[in-house]
């Protein structure tokens, strides 16, 4: 049910005392965190990620195309996000709004800039033919913190993806048959969003907390702690000291999410 009363002031007041509306610790994620792969047989790779009541699907489709002129020996990636009206009463049918565009672009940067996929290995014939990977992120139930759920879903989908059978001569793809070959993944970027509300920091914001934060920092980082994308949100400014603290939190929580990811993916393989 849509929450008609926004507890903005209550959330701010609680945050000052290091408390949250749902009783969580400031740096605590909602339960459960579940990751399931191969949830769509038609996708080359797919995943479903649940954080609390937030549920996001990601699907990977691959196609053969001509490389871009400035990178003739590389394939490409693209991330698209759809905030479905099915997932939240505030979303309307129609072309993606600014929130969807931002989510897609920040997730895209996290993967692209970390060089997570070896794009050179996607090239079959320089200047002629290369694999292009599209990741579609779809919200099933938006209850807050789409960024963390989306990067996790995108990564899980990429990890589960297998190339379809392609005819090297004609370039025709038989999507109904998959090979055993997986994507050349070099890094595994994970995103964490840290919010500042009334002077204190918290992670994994609920929908209500997203309405109440002063500033937000979304940070994508790989397993070595290298940062590949940052997006500041919210109307309030941040000091360098605050940015530093928020990034520390983000890197620490990325480790936590990464641990869950490997545990959940291990479960799927059994």
């Amino acid at each position: 049910m849509p929450k008609m009363i926004l507890n903005k002031e209550t959330i701010a007041q609680l945050s000052k005392e290091n408390q949250r509306l749902d009783g969580r610790g400031m740096l605590e994620y909602r339960e459960p965190i579940q990751i399931e792969t191969n949830i769509s047989w038609t996708a080359e790779g797919s995943a479903r990620v649940q954080i609390g009541e937030t549920v996001v699907l990601a699907g990977v489709k691959m196609s053969l195309d001509k490389p871009y002129n400035d990178t003739p020996d590389e394939g490409g990636i693209m991330v698209n996000a759809e905030l479905l009206p099915l997932s939240n009463p505030d979303y309307e049918p129609g072309p993606p709004g600014i929130k969807a565009v931002e989510l897609a672009r920040v997730t895209d940067r996290g993967i692209r800039e970390s060089k997570a996929i070896d794009l050179k290995k996607l090239c079959l014939q320089p200047g002629e033919k290369a694999w292009f990977v599209t990741i579609d992120i779809i919200t099933l139930n938006d209850a807050g913190n789409l960024f963390d759920a989306s990067t996790l879903a995108a990564l899980a989908a990429l990890k589960s993806a297998r190339f379809p059978v392609a005819d090297p001569a004609t370039g025709a793809i038989d999507y109904r048959q998959k090979t055993e070959e997986r994507l050349p993944l070099l890094k595994e970027p994970v995103g964490v969003t840290v919010c500042k509300i009334n002077g204190n920091f918290l992670v994994d914001p609920s929908s209500e907390e997203e309405q109440a934060y002063d500033a937000r920092l979304s940070v994508a980082s790989d397993d070595k702690g290298a940062i590949s994308a940052i997006q500041k949100g919210g109307d309030a400014p941040l000091s360098i000291e605050e940015v530093s603290q928020m990034i520390d939190i983000a890197l620490d929580k990325a480790k936590f999410l990464r641990k869950i990811l490997s545990k959940e993916l291990g479960k799927n393989q059994k």
Binding site: T42, P85, D136
Partner: protein, 234 residues
């Protein structure tokens, strides 16, 4: 008649393995999951809520709007570009018309009930799976309904009448007809009927009788999904 054995080994009137769940999307007023073999649909219902723009409002009763959408990675071929294409628009229209006869929104003037259906993976029969999920989701949302709608695609593959066609049968290299049918439970009335391919009138009526029979099984599944949810809730 040469189609003597179905591609996936089912009997001619046998449905694919089906699964139904109510209340799968917490944000929605009502929701459902429906799976028929490799076709999966999610439906979410929002409303009754105020309808905008205002000129669409009906002061006598509320209206329903159904939106059908395949996720970009849900087709068995290449990626589907997001957004409503002509096919999705047409299916959205016929789904709305298929649900209208069982919905009573006379107590909700000027309002709208939105039904969003999304498919993460498909193997034919998507509008029927969409309708089955939508019907459960509407009941789950407590929308006043006269009846439940259950839907199935029937058809004729190379002379043989079959129920619940898969993609391999729709595209079978022979004379094929594909007939999605929606049937109400109490009155056994048809609220959705489309057909493409080739079939004689006599065989069409036979196929419709088959649809009437097998939708009974689907209705029981839909009813069970709703019972399971409310049993759990209490």
């Amino acid at each position: 008649m040469t189609y003597t054995q179905r591609l996936d080994g089912r009997k001619f009137d046998e449905l694919r393995p089906m699964e139904a769940k109510a209340g799968v999307i917490p944000n929605a007023d009502g929701s459902a999951y429906f799976r028929a073999g490799n076709t999966i649909s999610y439906a979410a219902v929002y409303g009754p809520r105020e309808l905008f723009p205002k000129h669409l409002q009906n002061p006598k009763k509320g209206i329903i709007r159904c939106y059908y959408n395949m996720m970009p990675f849900s087709g068995s071929g290449e990626r589907i570009r997001p957004g409503m294409n002509r096919r999705a628009q047409e299916i959205s229209l016929v789904l709305t018309k298929a649900l209208n006869p069982v919905i009573d929104l006379s107590e909700f003037p000027n309002s709208v009930v939105d039904i969003f259906v999304e498919l993460p993976q498909t193997d034919a029969g998507t509008r029927c799976a969409a309708l089955c999920a939508a019907s459960i989701a509407l009941a789950d949302a407590g929308i006043p309904m006269r009846d439940m709608v259950s839907a199935i695609a029937v058809g004729q593959v190379d002379g043989t009448i079959v129920a619940d066609l898969i993609y391999g049968e729709e595209s079978y290299p022979a004379v094929v007809s594909d007939i999605p049918v929606a049937v109400t439970h109490n009155n056994k009335e048809i609220t959705l009927l489309q057909m493409d391919g080739e079939i004689s009138k006599k065989d069409l009526i036979k196929a419709l009788e088959l649809a009437k029979g097998v939708t009974e099984t689907i209705y029981e599944l839909q009813k069970k999904a709703l019972k399971d949810k409310f049993y759990k809730d209490n």
